[in-house]
Symmetry: C2
Subunit: 319 residues, 2 copies
């Protein structure tokens, strides 16, 4: 690996994808503490909130305040999810550096999630792009098409790879700076990831750069290995894997940030993140969300410093 | 992948590696039911027992009877672990098709496990080989050097890759037909697996063919992806991941057989194993070992038939 090729961005999405599935609302102060602690642990990309109507998702009612706090931290790249044009306007006004709009490849999921077909959502995405371009202050904001249900869908089942390619290209055509592929429902397998990236990367104009795995079937890290082999260098993760289905104990959601970082460092990648500091933040979660189960292997087993002596380093293995 | 290249052997080791760490002794009849049910699910390689002194490990006091039962099942390849020459004699007398002797690369672990240094254990291995060769009826028995603590050791910490190579070659020199690499303590990471196989395979005369991962840090399946890429086609696994440390709830041991088979089928590999039938065997474990926690993602989440429609097939994906 070359020096630049070793750098991997790990975006913390626990504050958005993790919290949104919990019924217990996390206090705004606790969210701020979490963001600051993650920043101090070396995290430089955080998806901090979702700009949805507070009536629909009380957990995100403080989105603008949370973004404002995150913006006080130098060099932190602040991402916000926006389900529609109104949300995008609010996120842009709040000052988010990156906004991500969810575009489900599964029509059933898209209708359930944003009450629009995938094609209608791409039209909304184009409107969001025009809004972003309408003010000079917003033009530096990165627009991410967050493709969801890319590897399967609990509502629809099978998701055609050709549909993923079609929607990814349409999203790029509509103005996406980045297309992120989300395994929203934990269906991805290593071969599926490889097959899809083999089809998509040659035609995606360098814009498919970020992947988002759930550990529902224990394959998030195996899938990550395949994505790394395909040159992907940005991954979402959620501290302590929070956000698993509250009705299925043990059913994890996003892959745990600390487990992902552990594997990346052990593989010689650099994340800039200190795992021990990440682990300390779990106490903040326990205090703020006493009912939320916390997941993660490394928290239980500890960091093994035997085979990769420098993996505790914030810069990963120096090889 | 070519047709033959798609075939992967999954050896069930729950009856040996799984049970040996449980204090509750499984009744012999339950072991027989498990073996028969695994066989009916398509499993054709089972490590059924360990020939150790019953005083040391009451769980394995019925080893000869369990082997005798396994031998009644046509085409089942019956493996037994033997810690020394006496155990090898008993296993050979019982009729095991393959015997595996554990050779720890970590000296501390070797002394704790078999009260011999690694080099002394290799000498014992050579004696086992001579015993095997001493009777014509035994000469077809496959002799496996089961290298343990290959990727790290809880007692010693760091395990030198050069030590692994040295001991693997000495084990081959001492007469091993197969060298299996065991991540006894769950320390392996994907890069470590790749690095070690890159060093070992070119010099191992085709004898390093089997890997044994523990899921202690959630990396067993990620490690398996790397090993598959290196051409490894035999893996150990334990139904329901039994055998995790009884003092650390949630700390899994061997990777769960059903999770491994699920990933392999989803990757287009053929195992001959039917996952739904495997999942049914978990009830046998619950009945026989009510105190033993069962692990595994697929048991909780179900088999996803969306993205890989034929993965339920006993022969895997027909592509």
């Amino acid at each position: 690996m070359t020096q630049s090729n070793k750098r991997v961005v790990v975006q913390e999405v626990g504050l958005r994808d993790g919290l949104q599935s919990l019924s217990q609302v996390m206090a705004t102060d606790a969210k701020k503490r979490w963001i600051t602690a993650a920043y101090e642990a070396g995290v430089r990309y955080i998806e901090v909130a979702s700009f949805v109507p507070p009536k629909l998702l009380p957990q995100m009612a403080d989105a603008a305040e949370v973004v404002a706090h995150a913006l006080t931290l130098p060099d932190l790249v602040v991402t916000a999810l926006v389900p529609n044009l109104k949300g995008a306007e609010n996120a842009l006004t709040a000052g988010a550096h990156r906004i991500v709009a969810p575009i489900s490849v599964s029509e059933k999921h898209s209708l359930a999630n944003v009450r629009k077909t995938p094609d209608a959502m791409i039209e909304e995405f184009a409107r969001i792009r025009h809004l972003r371009d309408s003010k000079s202050a917003w033009r530096n904001v990165t627009l991410i098409g967050g493709l969801s249900t890319v590897f399967g869908c609990t509502l629809q089942g099978y998701v055609l790879e050709s549909d993923v390619v079609r929607i990814a290209l349409a999203t790029i055509e509509a103005g996406a700076d980045v297309v992120a592929l989300g395994d929203t429902t934990g269906h991805a397998t290593p071969a599926h990831v490889g097959r899809l990236l083999d089809q998509l990367l040659p035609v995606a104009q360098g814009k498919v750069t970020s992947l988002h795995f759930h550990d529902t079937r224990g394959l998030a890290l195996a899938n990550t290995v395949v994505a790394l082999d395909h040159g992907i260098r940005e991954f979402d993760a959620s501290l302590a894997g929070i956000g698993g289905c509250p009705n299925a104990p043990g059913a994890t959601g996003n892959v745990a940030t600390e487990d992902l970082v552990y594997m990346l460092h052990a593989m010689g990648y650099e994340t800039g993140i200190d795992i021990a500091s990440l682990l300390d933040i779990r106490d903040t979660l326990t205090d703020a969300l006493p009912q939320a189960p916390l997941y993660g292997y490394i928290a239980r087993e500890g960091i093994f410093v035997g085979s990769v002596p420098t993996q505790l380093s914030a810069r990963g293995v120096q090889s």
